[in-house]
């Protein structure tokens, strides 16, 4: 974390650094094991015959191992089609959030105007009203627009910003030193240029966070698609997962198997996107 390479007392430091490295690795491994625990259980139960899922005492290694749970679970529900729908929606929402939230957050972080702080509280306030009470009025609205049973209610609002990400980005933009911006302004850059050439490149970790979270929330969102998508051909992965549950019966082995498989895209995206964090370090390292 710290740039200790430049410390003067070399040998002593080297030993300490190596020790520290091993210590860090050990802690990481232990914590990772703890964090993997629930996943291991999911994996284990996804390979069990249904009647063994709740076996007491539970056994970790399933016997017999039912690989066919995966095949059956994934054919049980048309996950191919649902994944395509979900991917399309998710991509659109990410683009919407990144475009709109950066602009709005920039306004709140960098521009002075009367009423700004009050408006910002209003932004936060929109996070606070619980959905059960706004769900019905919102549905009435989208129904009037003729958007029900299309992807529009899931996508279009993203292009008008989301309070959570506006807040997140604002916090990051506020930390960027003013000097960079002033220098650019002296060079004759306008606001759009400042935003897209200076602020955004310096905020890649934050933007990656917005993308990761948007991906995850949209991919897993259950309630919005539930309410707005009626035609089964439009269903998303989260709705498909729910097919393994009915009011009196749950097929746990299938649910676990399908949950794990449908989680993979999110993990892959996360694994790739976190590289942007590394990029962020170099950029701000040079310029900051």
């Amino acid at each position: 974390m710290t740039r200790a390479t430049q410390l003067p007392d070399e040998p002593n430091w080297k030993r300490r650094a190596r020790l520290q490295h091993w210590l860090a690795t050990a802690i990481l491994v232990i914590v990772a094991a703890i964090f993997l625990l629930p996943l291991i259980w999911m994996l284990s139960s996804s390979l069990k015959p249904e009647y063994q899922v709740f076996e007491m005492p539970p056994r970790l290694i399933p016997h017999p191992v039912r690989w066919q749970n995966y095949r059956e679970a994934l054919t049980y529900v048309p996950f191919g089609r649902y994944s395509f729908n979900t991917a399309f929606i998710t991509l659109m929402v990410i683009v919407g959030h990144v475009l709109s939230c950066t602009l709005v957050a920039y306004g709140f972080a960098r521009l002075r105007a009367p009423g700004r702080d009050t408006l910002f509280i209003l932004v936060l306030a929109t996070l606070m009203l619980p959905y059960p009470v706004t769900m019905a009025p919102l549905y009435v609205l989208f129904n009037r627009l003729g958007w029900v049973n299309t992807f529009l209610p899931l996508i279009v609002p993203a292009y008008f910003g989301s309070a959570f990400y506006i807040f997140l980005l604002r916090q990051f933009f506020l930390r960027i030193p003013n000097e960079l911006e002033d220098a650019a302004r002296i060079d004759g850059a306008n606001l759009a240029q400042i935003l897209y050439r200076i602020i955004l490149p310096l905020s890649m970790p934050a933007i990656a966070t917005v993308a990761i979270f948007t991906f995850q929330f949209t991919w897993n969102d259950f309630l919005t698609p539930l309410i707005y998508l009626h035609d089964q051909r439009l269903y998303t992965v989260a709705l498909g997962l729910n097919f393994f549950r009915s009011s009196f019966q749950v097929n746990w082995a299938y649910l676990m198997a399908a949950s794990l498989v449908t989680m993979l895209p999110v993990l892959v995206v996360f694994f790739l996107a976190q590289r942007l964090f590394i990029q962020g370090i170099s950029v701000s390292g040079i310029k900051g």
Partner: protein, 445 residues
């Protein structure tokens, strides 16, 4: 930041607009199918009927098969199934009804019938039943029409149903030489058999074989115990819980339930209180000899090598009793195609639909059950036999059951399961007062 770069700043807005156009294009075709449905009235080609159901997954297969057969026989109608599973079904349905955008035919659980009917969300079916395209309602098995009635009219036809029953694992009974429970058994028999089969097999001081797995604080299931003890939870005019929920009979039922857990210790404590199941899995694991529940998990039990399954009716105490869990289909009052909806409903809930249903669940039509030989089947026959022992559930007497009484009753059950020292009479007395107060709040119209 030279002039040449300036154009690039228009890139993002333009890109965004282009994306939105793509978006609109993608969304449009889907919307059109909806519009076709709305405009293509009875004269203008195919009618699209929307059917809402709380079933999902495997449970959709009978729906799909019935729809396939129906569409083959009625080429002028296309049926669009809109499944939503489980607990969020009503949230979506209510939202759709508010927006006047609900499916033409909807599936409702028994205890929601009074609320939806009182709110005029459904069409009464009596005129259809007696009309040109009539339905002979005498085809149904006993007790299956009543849950779909309210205010003397028929609003729903049966979709699926289950009474309670006692599953038993013959393997365990055989191993310990205990005779299987038989129809006509009593609470005393239950305690005796469960006691015999509750064992500490490895001698470590903890029970590892249980007599009976009970469904924890499942309130609707508990109505059976109250009825069997000779009590009821509410007055028949729906006006009061006092004298009912706190009657000696109700208290006796609560006491017995508590004793099974705490005094006789023949039932494993629930591992969680989340749902009706109480999170127990002992019966599935071959660690409980009996389980009282509905028919829903039966197919899984039949495939389970830990279990050699038998089913018997619920034991009687003061009264011979069982309760029914039921789901039915009705026609949305805002539908544009009541006639077409009736045609489908009649097909679905009538003999044609029952033909398909019998492969998945108990069929509602008596002749279908008869032909399939279900009455003589040792397991299915036990379930069907229970239909003659039904008593009405509490929700039929008040539309406020879920709001006023259910939380109070749930608290009673949770307390007796958790606390061996809890006094059943005190608990029921307090619950009756609480439910009554809530009922009066709810009725302040």
């Amino acid at each position: 930041m030279k002039r040449g770069n300036r154009r690039r700043q228009y890139l993002l807005p333009v890109l965004a607009s282009a994306l939105l156009l793509v978006l609109a294009a993608c969304a449009a075709p889907v919307q059109e199918t909806g519009d076709v449905a709305a405009e293509g009235g009875p004269s203008g080609g195919q009618i699209v009927l929307r059917v809402g159901t709380g079933d999902s997954g495997e449970g959709l297969k009978p729906h799909q098969e019935i729809i396939r057969r129906f569409e083959a026989a009625n080429p002028d109608i296309k049926v669009q199934l809109e499944p939503v599973s489980g607990s969020d079904y009503y949230a979506r349905l209510l939202t759709q009804i508010v927006a006047d955008d609900a499916p033409d035919i909807m599936n409702i659980g028994d205890d929601a019938v009074p609320q939806f009917v009182a709110a005029e969300a459904f069409l009464p079916l009596d005129d259809f039943i007696a009309g040109d395209d009539s339905l002979d309602t005498s085809v149904y098995l006993p007790g299956l029409l009543e849950p779909g009635q309210w205010d003397g009219r028929q609003w729903f036809l049966p979709k699926d149903y289950s009474p309670l029953g006692v599953y038993y694992n013959k393997k365990i009974f055989d191993e310990y030489g205990v005779a299987y429970p038989e129809a006509g058994w009593t609470w005393d028999d239950l305690v005796a058999i469960a006691g015999e089969l509750t064992k500490d097999t490895d001698g470590d001081g903890t029970t590892d074989l249980w007599g009976i797995q009970l469904p924890g604080p499942w309130t609707t299931g508990f109505e059976y115990w109250v009825a069997a003890a000779g009590g009821s939870l509410i007055s028949e005019d729906g006006s009061t819980f006092i004298g009912y929920m706190d009657s000696p009979e109700t208290t006796a039922a609560v006491q017995f339930y508590q004793d099974l857990y705490q005094t006789y210790k023949v039932a494993p404590l629930p591992a969680d209180m989340s749902a009706f199941g109480g999170g127990n899995s002992e019966f599935d694991n071959g660690q409980a000899a009996m389980r009282i529940f509905g028919r829903w998990p039966q197919s899984g039990m039949l495939e389970n090598p830990n279990i050699d399954l038998g089913v018997v009716g619920t034991p009687a105490d003061a009264v011979d009793a069982n309760v029914l869990f039921w789901g039915g289909f009705g026609i949305y009052s805002g539908t544009e195609y009541p006639e077409a909806a009736w045609r489908f409903l009649k097909f679905y809930a009538g003999p044609e639909g029952a033909e398909v249903w019998q492969d998945w669940a108990l069929p509602a039509v008596a002749s279908v059950a008869e032909e399939a030989g279900l009455n003589d089947d040792p397991i299915e026959g036990a379930w069907l036999g229970e239909l003659d022992r039904l008593v009405p559930r509490a929700y039929v007497f008040t539309p406020y059951w879920g709001q006023a009484a259910d939380p109070a009753l749930r608290r009673v059950l949770e307390t007796v399961i958790l606390d061996p020292g809890a006094d059943a009479a005190e608990l029921t007395a307090a619950a009756a007062q609480e439910a009554q107060a809530a009922l009066e709040t709810a009725q302040e119209e």
